[in-house]
């Protein structure tokens, strides 16, 4: 990816994000958003985050790999357990990364 493309991505993403942040504070003021939209917004984080996470855990070299041969799948399970047990970002990352490093060392 060229430097220009990366800058364009950053600027466009920032412009879109600013518009969302300013939507009511700066632009719409007292207007209310439609009820269905408000309800749907609640599910944005859960849906987007799941869609971002799963391929990193379940794919290897562009193929679906749900097996112990996929280090990231196993490390991902370890991290899920850590996340549920600790509800803490640093412990989740520490558990997942440590598991990945150990598995990579074993499998070479």
């Amino acid at each position: 990816m060229t430097d220009f493309t990366i800058w364009a991505i950053i600027l466009l993403a920032a412009l879109g994000t600013f518009t969302l942040r300013a939507s009511f504070i700066l632009l719409l003021g007292k207007k209310r958003m439609p009820h269905w939209f408000e309800q749907a917004l609640k599910f944005v984080p859960v849906a987007v985050l799941t869609a971002l996470i799963l391929p990193s855990f379940l794919m290897k070299n562009g193929q679906i790999a749900i097996s112990v041969g996929n280090e990231r799948f196993v490390a991902g399970i370890v991290a899920v357990i850590a996340a549920v047990a600790t509800k803490n970002m640093l412990w989740t990352i520490a558990a997942g990364m440590t598991a990945l490093w150990i598995l990579q060392a074993i499998m070479g």
Binding site: G16, E38, V46, P55, M59, V80
Partner: protein, 232 residues
């Protein structure tokens, strides 16, 4: 109480949260460099975009060579939640000038929003509300930039064999677990997850956006059905 003291009481109120924000910021800096951004671009992303989860996603997708327009759109979807925050903060910030409201919009974050709205709702008589929010936000902004800078510096030292790109889904996982807190949320996650795997080979990473939208719709639909069921 003056505007100035309210600014600092906002900064003070958010300080316990900042301890958790700092490592998140550092990770965002590291992964930006690992994904192939140069330091200027990584700093540009932290300052101009200034939205953690979307910064991580942008870095991850640049690293995997996704289509630029899909990257921009993904960041937009991740940040859709700001509309919700903006709507709920707007009544408290309406008295300041448009320029200041633009600035207050730019520094809007999950943490400063949650803290300020909780305070203003419990304490409707809070004086100088925009200043309290501005103080909390400014403290968070400063922490984010310092953490990012540390990460950008560290990212250049970390060898690729450490697989630090894996820290991105792990960070998202830590953000995901607390929000899977209802049956409808479980439906949204499950449907988004199945869809993203089924569409893994769609061109231009369109599977990601498709899965997000289908998941949001599934969550919304199941909640609508569940509430109707509870009423009848």
């Amino acid at each position: 109480m003056t505007a100035r003291t309210q600014f600092f009481s906002g900064a003070k109120a958010i300080s316990p949260i900042l301890l958790g924000v700092l490592p998140f910021a550092t990770i965002s800096g590291i992964v930006a460099i690992e994904a192939g951004l140069n330091p200027a671009q990584a700093i540009g992303m932290a300052t101009i975009l200034f939205a953690g989860a979307s910064q991580l996603a942008v870095a991850q997708l640049i690293g995997t060579g996704a289509t630029p327009i899909v990257i921009v759109f993904t960041a937009f979807i991740i940040n859709l939640r700001f509309v919700m925050y903006s709507a709920s903060l707007a009544p408290f910030l309406k008295k300041v000038t448009a320029w200041k409201r633009a600035l207050l919009s730019y520094i809007l974050t999950d943490q400063a929003y949650a803290l300020s709205v909780a305070k203003f709702t419990q304490n409707p008589e809070t004086p100088h509300k925009p200043w309290f929010y501005a103080g909390a936000s400014a403290a968070l902004w400063t922490t984010w930039q310092l953490g990012s800078l540390a990460g950008i510096f560290l990212g250049a030292q970390v060898p690729e064999s450490w697989s630090l790109d894996f820290a991105v889904p792990l960070t998202f996982l830590a953000l995901l677990v607390p929000v899977v807190n209802s049956r409808a949320a479980i439906v949204a996650a499950t449907v988004a997850g199945i869809t993203v795997m089924l569409t893994a080979n769609m061109p231009f990473n369109l599977g990601l956006i498709t899965a997000a939208l289908v998941g949001i719709f599934a969550g919304w639909l199941s909640e609508t059905i569940l509430t109707r069921g509870a009423q009848s």
